[in-house]
Subunit: 409 residues, 2 copies
């Protein structure tokens, strides 16, 4: 048998230019800071508020076990064979029915979490240099995947009521290229936990329609309201020019990796071809487990339980923050979603704060990662859904200690 | 509440240029003909040999049920929470150990089937216009995803012993841009069912190393040998310049969507960031099911059963083809993989043959789809792993009838 000549191949590899020559995409795709942080949090003694992790004690594991058993007995090999790219038709019908009144299963494509939805939509819309609009701050997983397609970002300030419409008007009027879309999270945004008022939703939908710019509405946190439901979705206000994406990661279990895109059929056809090309289809079994649970009578009760639990966690976090920081931070209770967006005084650099926190066994995400363009540097994203009450108490105390140290220098 | 002004939005949408303006990628991504065919095969009376579908009566469903139960009881919520992007560490170690002697779990990235491996590698290597080498014919899912990144394809003729090395030398010498990689399926290729001899493997590995061109080796069918094992893999011959991809779709169950990339660590690091950006991670549950089965004592027996079953199916198909076509086609028995690559006389256009076959309730894939550049038009890809003996007999009879009709015109 041929033995590879190790000496020769070493010689060739050492004296030649790089054999694996990467595309320009590799340089421009930022690593995700939260996923990097996830690797640190296994350090003993570390308390983490960094991930957007649901409380996994709420996962309906016994129900999923039962659904698995029933489904496998009923459908057998079909669950393990190649399947249709568009995904589980009953689950698509359920999503259409629940979230998009008047639409049908044909307008839904199932994806591997909403992260894949963002990738497929990037593939659909973005050429190198394409202008795209998004909120400042925005979801960093979106910034990461968009960046890999090299668009020109136009950031619109996200205020407590919604995006600054004057800024948006100015951007629409002044951009030399018409933006391909406006990406937004109108419901308990990650990271800010802000939502759009109904008034802003109406005006924004109208403004973008008039300018011929489609909306990509990310509804990841829409079900996680603790008090009252959110105003009408942008997709319902303007289905002709809005594409909506969603996920079961926050309402059921992220590890199943089931999300979706709702888009006009004409667009969806092309998105399905893109989905084919990137992974043929998502696993049927996972879609079946999701469908089994959400279509049962247990889902509403489950959602109520999540809302109640997270509300309690949000309130507890708020109390801990107040007890420690008093009036030194502008605090507002989170009424939905998974996060507090802590705003420190301008002179506090949260990248530095974050490093000091790590040394004290505490992880959260510095705000700078969430901005396209020039980052604001005085925020910290704090997740409240995963940690226990005790951990939260301890974590906030550690945070305050580090804050005091830095601010007294 | 605001009611969207339907009349106004209709007016705007009708009188303005297209609101959803797609990227150039959409135009250049071909639909997959096999996946389109998969939609036709549910027509009553249709017998299909079109998909690369494993025989789903072989799926070890009872075992997977038991693994699910045990794993969920043991690992609980962890299986449903967000997880590491690189994937299940025990499964990665198992893959490294079995397929890549001397390598470690650090060099493996788990993907959603090997189709996603191809997408991630496209992201890594291909800029618009990048030259890439691949076999003629080649796997059409690879052609589809590569196309979406707009490379310049350089096709190398795949003969019964392997790729034409003279053609490859010429291509390496004459291409104005050094190719980013050579993509190949050296083991029972889809569609041709050809394999590389050991001699060709050695010469090709050496030639590409000397030219500083990495190899992407697709091992999807490597376990599906019916008689003797295949020669040493290209990755084992030259691990420094070879990236290998694999899948459990053919050996276990495609619906689980578990595949992998084995690459030098330095490259893998960047591939993990790309994987993060496209879907965060693949579902843990599916990786756990695969690991539970392949690491058990049952896997080797299962592989033996698959090989024995497919060998029998291949032989039966061969007999049916001989009984009908006699000497009118050059027939050679398939000794592995999933396909027959039927070569018709030059004057037979298999795109036309395919259309006529559909009318007679028979589906297989016309060869033209598998070629970059100018397609050869006289082949038909025939899958033998999925149909029953009776269906195969009937299917081949139908094929022969259509062939006679066309050739006698």
């Amino acid at each position: 048998m041929y033995k590879p000549n190790k000496k020769m191949s070493k010689l060739i590899l050492e004296n030649s230019p790089e054999i694996f020559r990467s595309s320009t995409r590799i340089e421009r795709t930022p690593g995700s800071v939260t996923r990097d942080i996830l690797k640190v949090i296994d350090t003993p003694g570390m308390i983490s508020f960094a991930g957007g992790l649901p409380d996994d004690t709420l996962f309906p594991i016994e129900d999923l076990k039962n659904i698995f058993e029933t489904s496998v007995s009923k459908k057998g090999a079909k669950l393990f064979q190649y399947a249709d790219t568009q995904g589980h038709s009953d689950l698509r019908a359920w999503i259409a029915d629940r979230y998009y009144p008047g639409s049908s299963a044909d307008e839904i494509l199932l994806t591997s979490g909403s992260q894949q939805a963002l990738d497929l939509l990037s593939r659909y819309f973005i050429d190198e240099g394409s202008a795209i609009l998004l909120e400042r701050p925005s979801y960093l997983g979106a910034i990461q995947v968009f960046s890999s397609y090299a668009p020109t970002f136009i950031g619109i300030h996200y205020t407590e009521e919604g995006p600054d419409l004057e800024e948006l008007k100015y951007a629409l009027a002044s951009s030399s290229e018409k933006p391909k879309f406006f990406y937004c999270i109108p419901d308990f945004q990650n990271p800010s936990s802000y939502s759009y008022s109904l008034e802003i939703r109406n005006s924004l939908s109208k403004l973008l329609l008039e300018n011929g710019v489609p909306i990509l509405e990310d509804t990841a946190y829409r079900e996680l309201y603790f008090e009252e439901k959110l105003p009408t979705s942008l997709c319902e206000l303007g289905p002709e020019h809005t594409i909506s994406i969603g996920t079961f990661s926050k309402t059921l279990a992220p590890g199943l990796r089931v999300g979706w895109i709702k888009a006009p059929k004409k667009i969806l056809k092309d998105l399905i071809v893109q989905k084919q090309s990137v992974d043929l289809h998502s696993p049927t079994l996972n879609q079946e487990l999701v469908y089994g649970f959400v279509s049962s009578s247990k889902y509403e009760k489950h959602l109520s339980l999540i809302r109640k639990t997270y509300r309690k966690k949000s309130e507890h976090t708020f109390v801990c923050l107040q007890n420690n920081f008093g009036n030194s931070l502008p605090l507002r209770i989170s009424k939905g979603g998974l996060f507090y967006w802590l705003e420190f005084p301008q002179e506090i650099d949260t990248d530095l704060l974050f490093q000091k926190c790590l040394e004290k066994g505490l992880a959260a995400v510095p705000g700078s990662s969430f901005f396209v363009g020039k980052p604001e540097r005085n925020h910290l994203r704090w997740n409240f859904s995963n940690a226990s009450e005790e951990e939260t108490k301890l974590g906030v105390e550690r945070l305050y200690k580090v804050y005091k140290e830095i601010s007294e220098r």
